[in-house]
Symmetry: C2
Subunit: 349 residues, 2 copies
């Protein structure tokens, strides 16, 4: 068991100074070819690799990005990570992941821990609890310290920073209008409680579509789920009671649960009830019937977020104090048609 070799040891071994070794390995022209080659050969032999931590300390940058997300077992977040990891890797950055578990405290602790020099910047999506509390001091603090933050998906207007989102409101609007235009009369909505930003926006889109098409809003047709883990019964009751001809759900889970509930109540999907979900994940793809859904490209979102963060990071090097000019990128969505809806024509008619 040979511990990793250091410059100091090489220097001693070769009877030169540490500076000489360091310069040789960085191909400095200051050093004679003779010693340079000698040092390099020796270093290679002993498989020398500079210590990252020491470099980080010296350079005051770590080349690592922290991701803070509510949950990793949600397919959407996993794809976002995958997207981030990819462009981070291409640019020589590592990725550290922390899960807030939808808890405000965990989010705060993780951020504070990492903000102390461990990383160069954050990419994050807010936990539910943080969104419901509306307390963002931990994020503001980090930003004030000069550490860039990019938010995605679950964002807030209360913080100025780079963001990457989809147009939730519009995507919902489009989907629901499409249903209306295709003759559906009783379009139900299954959504989250309002403090979840994306849920709220999607609900607004639903309402907007109804109003824009002179469809009366029936509050009974809107189900707001509080407890995701036990939503099955709520949804079953909701569907059996209201007998909608279409259901628009704000996520995959609600959509697949709605389908199961519909079947249980004796309805066929899609001939009795059409179902549209949100997020094109594994559930939508493998469910029977497979689910028509608003795609939300997590890979692209993650990639974009990483690009924005890295850009800002490298910019800092150049012009010490760039003017803050934050951008919000909007990722395109589109409807992926599958088996859970009867064929949906586009356009007005």
């Amino acid at each position: 068991m040979k511990r990793k070799i250091t410059l100091k040891q090489i220097a001693k071994e070769l009877d030169v100074s540490i500076s000489t070794v360091s310069k040789s390995l960085r191909d400095s022209p200051e050093i004679s070819e003779d010693t340079r080659l000698k040092v390099q050969a020796f270093a290679k032999l002993y498989n020398y690799k500079p210590n990252n931590i020491a470099l980080s300390l010296k350079n005051r940058k770590t080349k690592t990005i922290a991701i803070i997300i509510p949950e990793i077992v949600h397919h959407f977040f996993a794809t976002v990570i995958s997207g981030i990891e990819q462009v981070a890797g291409e640019n020589g950055y590592n990725v550290i992941i922390c899960l807030s578990d939808e808890s405000f405290d965990k989010e705060v602790i993780n951020m504070e821990m990492l903000a102390n020099g461990s990383i160069d910047g954050f990419i994050m999506s807010l936990s539910k609890e943080t969104q419901s509390k509306g307390d963002f001091h931990h994020i503001i603090e980090v930003i004030n310290q000069g550490m860039p933050v990019v938010m995605f998906d679950r964002v807030t207007n209360d913080i100025l920073c780079d963001k990457v989102i989809i147009d939730d409101n519009r995507a919902a609007f489009d989907s629901v209008e499409r249903l209306i235009n295709n003759g559906f009369k009783k379009i139900a909505m299954i959504t989250t409680v309002d403090y979840v930003s994306v849920g709220k926006l999607r609900t607004e889109g639903y309402l907007r579509a109804l109003r824009a098409n002179d469809v009366a809003v029936d509050e009974n047709l809107i189900l707001r789920i509080e407890d995701i883990d036990n939503c099955a019964e709520d949804i079953e009751r909701f569907i059996a009671a209201n007998k909608p001809d279409a259901v628009f759900a704000v996520n995959e889970l609600f959509a697949v649960t709605a389908i199961k509930a519909a079947k249980k109540a004796g309805f066929d999907v899609p001939s009795d009830i059409s179902v549209i979900g949100f997020t094109d994940g594994i559930i939508s793809k493998y469910s029977s019937p497979s689910i028509t859904t608003v795609s939300q490209d997590g890979i692209e979102m993650g990639g974009k977020a990483a690009k924005m963060l890295i850009q800002r990071l490298e910019m800092e090097d150049a012009e010490e104090e760039q003017e803050e000019h934050y951008r919000t990128e909007v990722i395109e969505t589109h409807l992926v048609e599958r088996e859970s809806t009867t064929s949906l024509k586009k356009g007005n008619f």
Copy 2:
């Protein structure tokens, strides 16, 4: 924009030495209560937090664990991460994640990059390419440097280190024997190519169960999938051609695809064909019919792996050079019965 404050700045501000500040903040009894309180108050005011990188360099440990996995969008791996993250967090460790993307090169690059001081130890599952190549020099090197490695799920006998696995062979054996005992005659297997260690073990378990129960092995009833992304047609053809009365699949994806294929070929699941999968993930739960499956608790696996790694890490501190005594933990599995099988009685009869 105030950059983070350092000991040096506090010292200057308060007109004391850096040592005094450091000791005050660490509640050293050497320091008079007077100055200690003064320093602490000042530090609190300016929200001082020690720089992690400096501490890492000083202590020669980073308190971070690296996870290297093939893919994050597989639900199983996501749950493992979740398990690791949880116990890591409890023990004050951070988690860095790298994806090998099933590529040998990426696995090597990631490991080498992180092994240079960035982390204290690895938890990993081998990429397919690494398994097929059988080249583990990068891992052996890391271990020789004195950095602990814990492998899980996709492991190899060629490396001595801590491991956490399930008994794939036995789990498969039990499932298949259960099918045999319940009267199934034509039990097909959908598996991976043999170099994927877990696929191989599960296949062996299947074969062992047939032999142990005097069922002739029919090679036609075994489908080995090479290209997971395009397995649907292969599976459709396989099922239509062989008309098995039961299918044992080595993962969720194969199981759900088999169900879809069976339906397409006009069979009912489970009344015509029963299907058992492997890994109790989101697909098995939400598929219609939901899938009977061998559960493989990723959270537990991850948690166990993290515990083993941390234990070894802290052990190192204590007795400088502990005797290497590697353990392999086997996580219990069990069959989760759902709708894709007709009721399966236990025991011999």
